[in-house]
Structure formats: structure tokens, C-alpha cells
Symmetry: C2
Subunit: 187 residues, 2 copies
């Protein structure tokens, strides 16, 4: 693999595991098996490299989600498919993790892909719910924007509960609880 590519992928992994403050250029170089000079030749510094890594992760995350969103089935089936997709629960969300990092949030170039990703996910979920309403799957009283936010929040919060417990169980519980609530309104 190309050096640039290895640098970006290594940075993606390290940002996921240790966040922005917790990730040093040195650690990236070691993980990417690239030298100091090589890294600074291709990127102006840590921030620019992080920008490339975050943008890449944002694109990958959206592509993975869209696979569930655009599948076959009713709205409930596609939402359940998204919620129950195979996930590395204890590692958490690549994007959500970065929202607690003040240095990331302070830099508009780093923040933008994260903001955009969650905006997109909520909008996409809201569309699916709206479709479900039109087909009579959900009652007209169900607010698509609110429900979409609730679904996205359960996933992000599920990761937090799982990490706190060092177990995927609370995540699974939260997801199943949500699915049952959604089935409740659908009936």
C-alpha cells in the first residue's frame, strides 16, 4: 500500500482508539511504518492528517449506513437492520468518539465532516420514517425528525453504556428496547 494511504488508515485507527489529543505524530508514523520526514512531506502536520482521516471515516460510515437504509423491506425492517447490523460495540463510533475532543470541535475543518455525518444520518432516517408514514406503517402523528434523532441517539448512547460496562450487553438492551417501542407505535 502507498505511504499516504497507510498514513491515513493508521490515523483513522488511532483516532478511533485514542482520539485526537491522545494520538501523536510519532505513534502514527510507527503504525504506518513511515518515517518522520515522510509524514511531514505528505502532510503539513497532525491536523491536516487528521482532517484526511476524519473525512475518510465519514465517507465510509455513510456508505455503510446507506447499505442498510437503501435495502429492501418496510421502514421498520430497514431501521432494525441498521440498528442490529454487526458492530464492534466496545470500540464505539469513529465519529461519535471525536465529539468529546475539544481540539477537534474547536477546529472547523475537523468538526465539519462529523457534523455533516450526523446531519445526514438523521435526515436519512427521517426520510425512511416519512416513507413509513405514507405507506401507513406508522401513524401520521409520529414526528419523523424527532424519531430519527431518537434512533441515532440510542446508537451513540448505547456505545457509551457498553464502554462503561465493558460489555456489549447494555447496547443490545438499548437497541432492543427501542425496536420494541417502535413496534409499539407501528401497531
Amino acid at each position: 500500500m502507498e505511504t499516504v494511504e497507510r498514513l491515513i488508515r493508521s490515523t483513522q485507527d488511532l483516532l478511533w482508539e485514542r482520539g485526537y489529543v491522545g494520538t501523536s505524530p510519532k505513534a502514527i508514523q510507527v503504525a504506518a511504518d513511515a518515517g518522520q520526514g515522510s509524514m511531514y512531506h505528505h502532510f503539513s502536520g497532525k491536523a491536516e492528517l487528521a482532517k484526511a482521516a476524519i473525512e475518510r471515516s465519514a465517507a465510509e460510515l455513510q456508505a455503510a449506513a446507506e447499505e442498510q437504509f437503501s435495502g429492501d423491506g418496510t421502514a421498520t425492517e430497514r431501521i432494525s437492520g441498521y440498528l442490529e447490523r454487526d458492530r464492534d460495540v466496545l470500540k464505539g463510533c469513529r465519529m461519535g468518539r471525536l465529539t468529546t475532543d475539544p481540539d477537534v470541535m474547536a477546529d472547523p475543518r475537523l468538526r465539519a465532516p462529523i457534523d455533516e455525518t450526523f446531519g445526514w444520518i438523521r435526515a436519512r432516517l427521517a426520510e425512511i420514517i416519512a416513507e413509513g408514514k405514507q405507506r401507513g406503517e406508522y401513524p401520521g402523528s409520529l414526528d419523523a425528525g424527532q424519531t430519527a434523532a431518537t434512533i441515532a441517539a440510542v446508537l451513540q448512547g448505547g456505545y457509551v453504556l457498553a464502554r462503561a460496562a465493558d460489555s456489549a450487553e447494555p447496547f443490545e438492551l438499548a437497541v432492543q428496547g427501542l425496536i420494541h417501542l417502535l413496534e409499539g407505535v407501528a401497531a
Copy 2:
């Protein structure tokens, strides 16, 4: 205020804002208006100080939550009261924030109060839901443990969405969406 007390409180604040890796002994000393020697006289180092701060925050968080949980009203009213309590949404959760910090999660002494806090919250919510079921407020089919996890997750995830958007709005949407889903099953 006593020096020890100022050190603990300053550490609580800094952990909230910047996390464990992002918080230096020096920054704590400045915030607490305490000297280097003073800090190391009272605490063996950063880890011990963080332990005291996290334990303190855990106790405060549980006390604040219990105020809503033990109030008057139906289960739904108390849960809504908890969800809609006045919160500094963009600052996020003191405890939830730390779950992404690998150094905190790797140290059992730092992890324990966090684990315990979320375990307690979920258990307490499950009790309230179980009460609601007994009073006929909720159907017998509602799973208390799952629903409790869902509620806790919406809060934690709501914070993540809010920080990503740099706006409290997604948090409010997620909470209202959840409340409507709960009202749906209650009917």
C-alpha cells in the same frame, strides 16, 4: 475553600471539558490556584487526583438523578422529569465523556465509579418502569431492563448529537421523540 477541595473541584471541571489525557497536572494547579508542591503533597499524582474527582462526580450525578427519580407522579412523569431536567447539553455528561478515554478505561480504579454510575441509573430506571407496569401504566409486555437502557442511551447519545451539531436541538429532538414513543406504549 480548602486546597484539597479546590484541587478536586478543578480536576472535576477539567476532566469534564478536556478528558483525562487532555488534562495536565499543571492545568489543574493553575485552575485550583495551588502550587506544584502543594498538589503533590496532597495527591500522589494525576491518577489519584482523577480518582477522587471521578468519584465525587459520580456521587453528585447520582444524587441529582435521584432527585427526579424519587419525586411525585406517575412513572412517565418522573421519567420525563428526568429527561427534561435542565441540562448543560453542549457540555455533555461528566461520566459519559470519560468512557472514550482509553487511559481511564484501562485503570480499574478510574473505571469503577463510571461503571457503577451507569449500572445504578439503569437499575433505578428499570425499577420505576416496573412500578409503572404494576400500576397498569405500562403493558406487561414492556421489558423494564431494555427500556431503561434505551432511556439512558438516548440521553448519552443526545449529548453526542448535540456536540456534533454544536446545538442543543438534536438532544431535544431525541428526548421528545423518546417521550412520545413511551406515551405510545402507555396508551
